[in-house]
Structure formats: structure tokens, C-alpha cells
Amino acid sequence: MSTLEEENATVSGDIEFRWGRKGRVGKKNPNIQYYESFTYDGVDYFLYDSVYLWSGDQYLPHIGKVIKIYETPRLKKMVKVVWYLRPTEVQKWLKGDHHLNNELLLASGEGNGLSNFNPLETICGKCNVVCQSKDERNPKVSMEELKLSDFVFYQTFDVETCRLSEKFPDKIAGVEVGHFFNPKTKGNHGVIRKSNSSSMCDTDNSSTIVSGVPASSSCENHHSMKSKFQEFEVGNKKSIEADSQSIMLKKRPKLLQEFEVDTKKSIEADSQSIMLKKRPKLDTSVWFKKLPWEDRIQKAHEVGSLVLLENLYHSFTSSEVEEIVLDAFNIKVNAKMIQWSAYSSPHNGQALVIFNSKDEADYAIFELKTRCLVIGAARVVVGSRPSLKEPGNHNTSKYFGHITIDAIKRKLTVEMKNAVSTSHHSQPNTIAFEMAMEWWAQQKMWELCRDALYKKQAEEIAKLKGRLKGSGKK
């Protein structure tokens, strides 16, 4: 059953809604009233704004540009959006092109995936999307505007041919392309308060998660969203169990208690505050372009805000580590799992975490030292300040095994030097081959040594783990 039987949401008092400027009436059906703006949950939206849209089963909100706003004769509020595609969504056709973290692709062409009609209630926030196309019809943006933007785009993705292009057609979905470029006059509606939009999305996130069962129709592109007040009619406890997406197990018991005790209004507030922390993805700091990791780690190391976490599970991803730190310390950080190499211990997953200040790092290390942070059954996290190698010292890092004969080297012509410098597959009857064999033998010996060490360590760990599981309560 459609969720939109809520008529005017102001009645329920949950989400405030007000129509703004009226537009024309429908050409074919004069009972359809078009609008040029509306206010939803305290935010003003205008035609041709870029917005976030949320459907119950997504991990991240969709982003689209509103090209039509209207109300049907049955008082259903609808919007037509042209989609901004995330590069990951169309990875299949991109063939490994490099895309920035906050880059989007504007859908163009005709067919499935270009645009959709959605209930207005699926909108959960405004989004600042800036166009960086070099097209002459596109006004350029200043550095300030770029910095304030949430996303950028400069390419279109034709949904019919599945191709990227930097060319913009004259019309997309029947709308003049000028509306897709940056607005000519920088009105207020182009820039939004970030915190407002993120909290918007969070509240809607909480509502969809609590409800558990989205009322999606069969067509895969059609989105729908549960209105806030409706899901509280569904059994609260049941819907929490049904939610398999949540990671913050610790927060869950608190939520349950809240539901039993409080009224509906305060549940909203609580779930809002809890879920806010859960969604670092919508936080603005993620959207700015960042320095490459090496630089950031060096900087953090100099400042003293770099921490090495050990004894993690190797299977963690960097974002999971960030969530763990968020859960344990309530601090948003950036983390990177150290990639597994031939020398890595299978028992010890490591991650480098950049805190926001030296004090935070000190605090985290102190907490990890004095108390014990236990992950899973028995992984106790160890925190320390790592000793990194000096930057730019690449040539002096020790590498043994490449030998040259100086006299011969001098005689080599440039070509020969280049030829030798790439690679060489040795034949059995050369000295080089024999020497390579010596290297192999040594390598193998050390590999066996390492395996033996790790095996012994595994036994020691298993012993302690067994004791912990047996004695302690979970």
C-alpha cells in the first residue's frame, strides 16, 4: 500500500510541508498543479535544485536534479528528477577510469535510468552540486564555491549508449541544458547549510531503518519511502531485529529501551541523535578533496596524531576501522588498514589511524592502555605510536641483491643500459641463474622460519583466547 496517504503532513505534526510558488497547470490534465518551490521540513526547495533522495533499501542516498514539481488530483506530491550517477553505479561501463571521490555523472540520453517520478517525500536534503564542465554555456565557479560544494560533475553518462562524454546536449529529459549548468545568478538556494542537509538525511534514515520493510514497487527504478509516523505503527522491536544493516550493536540495546519507555516524539529525537553518529558518510569533511594518504600520514606523524592499531582482524576494511574508532571513542577519524604483505602476521591486522589532534591520539592510546577494547570474541586492540620511515628516503631503504660490475657498466651504451634495466628472465646456464638460486634458497628458508614463528604464535594466542572465552562473560 502506498505510503502517501498521509495527505498534508502538517496534520500529523511530524514533517512540516508548505507549497511555495505556484506554476502552471498541466497541459493535458488541468487538475495537475505544477509548482516552482516548496518547503519541506524547514528547508526551501526550488525547481532545478539538486537534492538527495532516499529509498529504504539503499546504502547511500541518490542524488538528482528536480526538474518538475507537481501535485496530482489525488493530492499526491510528486517530483521528477534527472539522476546524477555515482561512478560506482556505472562501473561496468567505465572500464577503470579514475574518478574523484565526490565526482558525479549527469545522466543524459533517453531510457531507463535517466529520470524518475518520485514522491516528494523521498527527498531528504539539498545537495550542492557544482558543474565543472568547460562548456561555454556553463558559468565557471570560484574556488570558494568549489570548496563549499558537495559534489562536482563535468561529464554526462548517456543511459542509452552507456558512454561517458564531456559534451552536453542541448536538452536533457526535455529540459534546457542551461538548467543543469551552474546557475547564472548565485541565489541563496544554490548554497545550503550542510548540517541541515545531513541531519535531514539522518532522520529519514532512522525512519526507514526502523520500519524495516520498504514498500517498493516492482520496477527497480521506482523509489518510495515510509513516512515517519507510519512506521511506529509497525511493531518496533520486530523491525529493529529485521534491520541487518546496522553496525553499532552497542547502541542497539539503548534504542530498544527507549522505545519501550518513551513517547513517539522523543523516540524520534533519540533515534535521530543515535543515527546521526552512524552516518559519517554524509559528513561534509568527507566531501572535500584530500591529500594523498602518504602526505596525510606524514603530517599526522609530525603532529603526533597518528596511531597504530594492532590486533585487528585482517578482514576489516578501512571504513570499518573508522567506525570502530567512532564507536569506541566517539571520535571521527580517518583510518587505513595496512595491506597484507608476505611478511604480515596472519593474527595481527594493523591499521594506521589519523586523529584530529595530538590530544585525541594521546587520549586514545591512554584509553587503550588502561582499559581494554575487545573486538569480537577475544581481539584486544593495542594502540601505539608507530615509527615510520623517513619521508623521501626511498633510495636509501635497504635492498640487497642487485649486483653490477662497474667496469662493464661503464662500457654499456645507453640502449643496452635501458634494455637491462627492465627485466630479465634467466637461463639455467648463466652465473646469474645460479646466484638467483642462492637468493631463492635463502628466501625459502626465511619463509619457513616465519611460518614456524606464526604457527607458534597462533598456539599461544589460542590458549589465551580459550581462557578468555571460558572465564569471562560476553
Binding site: 604483505s341 573486538i375 626511498h394 633510495n395 627485466s423 638467483a436
Partner: protein
């Protein structure tokens, strides 16, 4: 529209299968060099040098080939005969890539990571502390092992270098002697014939 987490992960697993982890590389190796080196064996889709943050880091890289089959064949071949990149004679080592070797990997599935704080008042606190200390000790052991291995490598390098230089000198001597006719005179002196050397 958005590929589900499973799809993303499945695609990622495909990529892992096509990839090779190579280490024991010289720090002077660049991505281009690796690409041409492995390009002899098949089509290379991507090369990615893994950054090392710690001292005594082993330079390693992830190379993605066109197909999983190519990747397997290369790993097998590199195991049979040594491939040397950017210098001789130390060969590089190759193994099939693992999921954890990759930097930006998608989550396998939405899972709950349960983490909790244990206060000193908790009965198992001492045990947890022991586990922490064990981890530190293990890390130190592994570090020690690595240092020993590095020392061994240095020894072998020096040893091979000496031998090679000495051999080279010997050959040079013989060549030189041949060149300036000394050998011929010696042969004549001793009454032996000189085979073509």
C-alpha cells in the same frame, strides 16, 4: 541502480583473482617497469605499488592481469624460473593476490562489529591485558625475524658481490693475457699447443 553490496564484492573478488602480489622488488622499480616486465607474459591491466610506511619495508606491488588464468600462469612460471626486475640477480617473488592485500576494498557484507570496553574491574581484565602483551611480544618477534632476514640478505649480497668481482678479475686477466700474446708465448715456452680460446 546502485549495485548491491554483494555485486560489488563479487566484482572485487574477480579483480583479486586476476591479480598478482609481487615483492622483493628494488626500491627503484617503477610501475612502468613492472608493467613492461610482466607485459611479456600477458596483458597487464593495472599496476599498483603498495606504499610502505614502516622502516625496513619490503617493496611490493599488486599487478592486475587481463584474466585469472594469466595470473595463475605467471605465478607458476615465476616459481619455476627466476624473473629479475631492474637488476640482477635477485629474483622477485610472486604469489596470488589475497583480498586483504588490496587497499580500498568493499565490505564483504554488512556485518556487526561488536566491540566493547573492558574496565579494570571486569574479571577477565587481567586476561585481556595478557592478550595485549602477547600481541606486542609477537610483533616484536616478527620484527626481530625480519631484521635477521635483512642481515642475512646483506651477507649474501656481499658474498655474491665478492665472488663475482673476483671471477670477473680472473676473466679479465685471462682475456688480457690472451690479448697481448702472452698466452701464445707461454704455450710456445711449454711446448703445448694453444686451442682456440
Amino acid at each position: 541502480m546502485d549495485p548491491s553490496a554483494e555485486e560489488k564484492y563479487a566484482a572485487f573478488q574477480e579483480k583479486v583473482k586476476k591479480s598478482i602480489h609481487i615483492d622483493n622488488l628494488s626500491p627503484q622499480v617503477t610501475e612502468a617497469v613492472l608493467k613492461s616486465a610482466l607485459g611479456q607474459f600477458g596483458k597487464v591491466t593495472a599496476v599498483h605499488l603498495i606504499p610502505t610506511y614502516f622502516t625496513s619495508g619490503n617493496v611490493c606491488a599488486l599487478v592486475e592481469m587481463e584474466s585469472a588464468k594469466q595470473a595463475e600462469e605467471i605465478v607458476a612460471e615465476m616459481g619455476d624460473s627466476p624473473l629479475m626486475v631492474s637488476g640482477m640477480p635477485r629474483p622477485v617473488r610472486a604469489q596470488k593476490a589475497k583480498v586483504e592485500m588490496f587497499e580500498d576494498r568493499p565490505k564483504k557484507h554488512e556485518r556487526r562489529i561488536v566491540c566493547r570496553w573492558m574496565d579494570p574491574t571486569h574479571p577477565s581484565f587481567e586476561l585481556a591485558k595478557k592478550i595485549k602483551n602477547l600481541t606486542k611480544r609477537h610483533a616484536a618477534e616478527a620484527q626481530y625475524l625480519m631484521e635477521q632476514e635483512l642481515a642475512d640478505e646483506q651477507k649474501l649480497h656481499n658474498q655474491q658481490n665478492e665472488t663475482l668481482q673476483a671471477n670477473y678479475e680472473k676473466y679479465k686477466l685471462i682475456d688480457g693475457a690472451q690479448g697481448d700474446g702472452a698466452l701464445k708465448r707461454l704455450a710456445g715456452y711449454y711446448g703445448t699447443t694453444l686451442d682456440d680460446c
